[in-house]
């Protein structure tokens, strides 16, 4: 094991302009928001973002002008409706959005995690999404080599960087995730580089006391950053719940054309919102 503990600044440098990036969590839960804000502060450009069902993390980076392409199965603010910057910039053509679906995106991550160029799945056929996918080259109709059954081959999705916010890790990168895992373990295995921001740094001795609690082993983690409330205003299970007032303020600012003011206040202004 080698020590991979570093600063937010250093970890953010692992993300290069134009990289393919995915984030842990789902919608308003365990999104690595402080890392996302750091990417915006650093003015990253031309990122391609991919995830199953993200929310504010993707929309904030789109609003901050860091994003060139987005691939999601659904990008919305749950019952609060559309993601404002995603909607605006995809309708204006400022960003390219090639919509996927949950299973192809999850299976793309799984293929990469398994070291495979592609993975077969079912469903999808008959949907207009298949046509998009065939054009983009992310999915292809194939026949099973044994049964001849019509299947869909999903191309592996190997992010340049996966960024995950977790509850605990040691300085070597043994990561403990509590509550729902979403696809975080799969994403970590799929990515070329893995950054983990955590609520709490714990000693290796505590990790060894319950190995079954380790979700991601050290040898696939490249950077650990101690970052309390690193998911705020999203939730971090067992630590804090979603701050829906903040999310409504975000949506209001965007709706009233005041999104720049939101960024000034919560991203470019104070180090931590």
């Amino acid at each position: 094991m080698k020590k991979v503990l570093t600063s937010l600044e250093e970890a953010a440098n692992l993300v290069k302009d134009g990289d393919l990036v995915t984030f842990g969590g789902a919608t308003f839960h365990r999104a690595p928001m402080e890392f996302v804000r750091e990417l915006a502060r650093k003015g990253k450009k031309g990122l391609t973002l991919v995830d199953r069902e993200p929310a504010m993390d993707f929309d904030l980076l789109i609003g901050a002008g860091c994003v060139a392409k987005v691939r999601t199965a659904m990008l919305a603010f749950e019952i609060f409706g559309m993601a404002p910057n995603f909607r605006k910039k995809s309708e204006s053509g400022e960003i390219i959005t090639k919509e996927g679906a949950c299973q192809p995106i999850i299976s793309g991550f799984r293929a990469a995690a398994m070291g495979l160029p592609s993975l077969p799945i079912k469903g999808m056929l008959g949907s207009d999404l298949m046509e998009i996918s065939e054009v983009v080259g992310s999915q292809k109709e194939v026949e099973d080599p044994f049964t001849g059954e019509k299947m869909i081959a999903v191309r592996a999705i190997e992010p340049d960087v996966a960024v995950i916010h977790a509850q605990k890790a040691d300085e070597y990168g043994n990561v403990q995730i509590q509550g729902p895992l979403y696809e975080d373990v799969i994403k970590a295995k799929a990515a070329k580089k893995v950054v983990v921001t955590v609520e709490e740094l714990i000693p290796n001795s505590e990790v060894r006391r319950m190995p079954q609690a380790t979700s991601i082993p050290h040898f696939i983690v490249d950077a650990v950053v101690e970052l309390p409330r690193g998911a705020y205003p999203c939730s971090c299970f067992n630590y804090y719940d979603v701050d829906y007032d903040h999310i409504k303020e975000y949506l209001k600012a965007a709706a009233e054309g005041q999104f720049d003011k939101y960024l000034d206040k919560y991203v470019y202004g104070r180090e931590n919102a």
Binding site: A73, G123, S127, Y182, E183
Partner: protein, 253 residues
């Protein structure tokens, strides 16, 4: 009675009644109505159903709903965690019996659109995306689609974009699977040889004609069409106790 009962509660119970005992049922994102429907089914006619939460809990004790359907608090006292990728494996094995899905448009063949109004490359309106629709629609023995605004812009002759596959967009083997649409006016199914949308029931205070007038294509009543059954007071109380903040109303505003 029928003038007192509120539409979200009526829809929740209609959705619940589509679940049978011992079914394995999955809900996805942005799903307060499905979560409440699954909870009602469990507490009434389907005590042995397997409840797989979008938040990954199996058979959790749901005390209340939240603005997010992936909230970890929805897994309280679960018997296990089961990730979405595992649930999808189960679906590929044909072992998820019922799935609840949303839609911005539904057409007479059961196709749904959650992707775009207008052209996909030059969208008039960019919609949030279909989530699991294109994967789960053909594979799942019963898909229940809920629609909170039954009108001619939602119930359309033909969807702008086929996100989820209706009966004219799926392979023969998947045509046997059922689609049920629960709207704010009534319940629609496709249980006829042509697999075309028909009226299964109309909600109390609404009529077959009202449904026909608000549907963008010619829709006929199914044989034995009735009024949607009205839930008892104890079920209504159950729903209200689980949703003190009226999260279920959000989609209706």
């Amino acid at each position: 009675m029928s003038d007192k009962i509120e539409i979200p509660d009526l829809m929740i119970c209609a959705m619940a009644s589509e679940i049978e005992n011992f079914d394995t049922v999955l809900h996805g994102v942005s799903s307060p109505l499905p979560i409440l429907a699954m909870s009602v089914a469990r507490k009434t006619h389907a005590p042995d159903m397997a409840y797989i939460s979008g938040a990954e809990g199996v058979d959790p004790e749901i005390d209340r709903v939240y603005p997010s359907s992936f909230d970890g608090r929805l897994n309280r006292n679960s018997v296990a965690y089961f990730g979405l990728h595992e649930a999808f494996d189960l679906a590929q094995r044909g072992e998820i019996n019922v799935m609840f899905l949303g839609a911005a448009q539904v057409d007479r063949f059961g196709n749904t659109n959650l992707s775009v109004i207008g052209d996909i490359d030059r969208p008039k309106v960019r919609l949030p995306g279909g989530a699991a629709s294109a994967f789960m629609m053909p594979l799942t023995p019963k898909v229940v689609i809920w629609v909170t605004r039954h009108n001619k812009r939602v119930l359309v002759e033909e969807v702008d974009f086929v996100t989820g596959q209706g009966y004219n967009h799926r392979a023969e083997e998947y045509k046997k699977n059922e689609i049920v649409v629960v709207s704010n006016l009534g319940v629609m199914n496709f249980r006829n040889p042509e697999r075309l949308m028909q009226i299964q029931s109309y909600h109390p205070g609404h009529t077959i004609d009202e449904i026909r007038d608000n549907t963008g294509f010619d829709i006929t009543p199914a044989p034995g069409v009735t009024e949607t059954p009205v839930p008892g007071a104890e079920i209504i109380n159950l729903i209200h106790n689980m949703d003190p903040d009226n999260v279920r109303w959000t989609e209706f505003h």
